[in-house]
Amino acid sequence: MTRFFYPSLAVVAVTVMSLLPLTLDPQGYEIRILCIAMLFAALGQAWNIVGGLANQISLGHAAYFGIGAYTSTILLRLFSLSPWLGGILGMVLAVLFALLLSVPTVRLKGHYFALATLGAGEAMRVIANSWASVTGGPVGISVPYSRESSLWMMQFPTVLPNYYLFLIALVIICLVFWKIQTGALGFRLRAIKENEQAAEVIGVDTYRAKLIASTVSAAITAFMGTLYAQFQFFFDPDTVFGVATISVKMALIAILGGVGTLLGPLLGAAFIIPMEEFANSYFGASVAGLSQFAYGVILVVIILINPRGLVALIGQIKNRIFSKGGSQ
């Protein structure tokens, strides 16, 4: 039974998610929140490939996200290039950036890796802010709006098609993560996580494994950047290259849900995004910083309670119920 339990659960979840927007106003607020939640679930999952499986704590994934958003938008503005092609080009650039960054960072661990990636993300933000002739600088850049609805140009009169794009992307990314997690690469990455030297001794090419994981993660993150640009129509360097807005949020969602697990980023995003939106709409813009303050507090509390996240917490509760007070 368990063999079919999780796949059927996934099918039910996807069916519910595809039918859900039909009951909502296609221009409404709720559907936008669901879109953002799926976007961040996908980003959390992308982060999870490197941060969760290999324990390489990246604080600079915003670099890839921003590259994706800017590449497709700049090409769309200059040459009216389809965001699909721009997005693919963005993925290529993000992979190149990941390869470039891996030269100095692939041997770094723990704190040092986190610091170096943080620096790389911030460097991209500085570049985007100062290279105003291409990126538009700190004032931001907007996606040119065309009147007709077109899948090729990724522009639609309502948010509904965006919703399905996010859903399809999320499903694909979850499948990629699941494939990596249960495949040989996943075992290699987990071996690196447990003990990198031991992994090398038993013949794991740790350099290669980490490189593959980080390029896949970078490519996914970049394409989500393109989807985000076509959804928001306007963004600036501090948003798409931001430490708090992207890099840490991606990691937070994966960690909150349960680092290194398939379900983790989904749970994390389902919790964080609605909470953030609720706080923003309830307290309004007058209380600036409240949602990020809440982030910080939640992050601290979650780590003090259980650093393994909601999945572990649910597991504990399940154990307690099913074992009727027996030992875990």
């Binding site: 986190a114 790389a120 460097a123 910080g296 939640i298």
Partner: protein, 296 residues
């Protein structure tokens, strides 16, 4: 001739600002050296120190150079409390827990300050702000030493020297160094390592807050001021070697010099980019720091 005065002016600017960076970074290095925790929230204590000094100036007319001592004392106790409640549980925990606890703290503090104090920029006005010593004056130009930067540098020197004295010439300092080298052995020798951790964290954040307060005459305080210093601080510490207090001084002055000299050739927005690149390169090539001594 013109270029010679420019060179010396840049050199002086770099050393003066670098001295302050050194003090700010010493605290971060001390925390890492003793507890082996990278405190991502550390720059927020600089912000806290600035605000304490600003309030002392605005409501009691205390000069930021003296307010710095108030900032040091208050943040010392805040730091001790924080260490007890938040940092102690994660000593020896997986690095992902350590990283994200302090990152969480960073957001909580930065935005907590935003909620409490508002987004306004706050600056002080002092009599020495606009004054400068003229070191050299001639046809080729002048070499000036701005007084606010000079005072901040001297205060930084004072606090750095005091910390050095504490660590190397007092029994508590010796106990702290012992704790940093081998907590288990230190415990067996009768050192209360939990207390040492608390004092180290308190002193670490206090020193940084002190450094924040003395730069108040030439840098405006705002809740997000810490983010300007995060990379700078980490670059200084990494240049000197994480955990080495003396290294942080060298690293801080190097960062000051890199910043002032890169401003000569690069546009101002790209000033920090040089730092980021150097930062990543140093991490990659010599993560133990440029001044690291070979240990057995």
């Amino acid at each position: 001739m013109q270029s010679i005065t420019t060179f010396f002016q840049t050199l002086i600017d770099g050393v003066l600002i670098g001295g302050v960076y050194a003090v700010i970074s010493i605290g971060l290095s001390l925390v890492f050296g003793v507890m082996h925790i990278v405190n991502f929230a550390h720059a927020e204590f600089l912000m806290l120190g600035m605000f304490i000094a600003w309030f002392a100036w605005a409501y009691a007319g205390i000069d930021p150079m003296l307010g710095a001592f108030i900032a040091l004392i208050i943040t010392f106790f805040i730091g001790m409390g924080m260490q007890r409640v938040l940092i102690k549980p994660i000593i020896g925990a997986p690095q992902v827990a350590q990283i994200f606890l302090t990152v969480g703290l960073l957001f909580a503090m930065e935005n907590g300050a935003l909620l409490l104090f508002g987004a306004d920029f706050r600056s002080v006005s002092t009599s020495y702000q606009t004054q400068a010593l003229t070191l050299f004056s001639g046809e080729s130009g002048r070499i000036l030493v701005p007084l606010d930067k000079l005072y901040a540098f001297l205060m930084a020197l004072l606090s750095g020297a005091s910390l050095w004295f504490f660590l190397n010439r007092t029994s508590w300092g010796r106990a702290m160094r012992a704790t940093s080298q081998d907590p288990m052995a230190a415990k067996l020798m009768g050192i209360n390592t939990d207390k040492m951790y608390m004092i180290a964290f308190g002193l670490g954040v206090g020193t940084t807050a002190f450094g924040g307060a003395v730069i108040l005459p030439y840098i405006t305080a705002s809740p997000t001021v810490g983010s300007q210093f995060v990379v700078l601080m980490f670059t200084a510490v990494v240049l000197g070697g994480l955990g080495s207090v003396a290294g942080a001084v060298v690293g801080g002055i190097m960062v000051g010099l890199i910043q002032s000299f890169s401003a000569l050739i690069l546009p101002i927005q790209l000033q920090n980019l040089t730092l980021f690149v150097i930062f990543i390169l140093v991490l990659a090539l010599k993560p133990e720091g440029l001044t690291a001594r070979r240990r057995s």
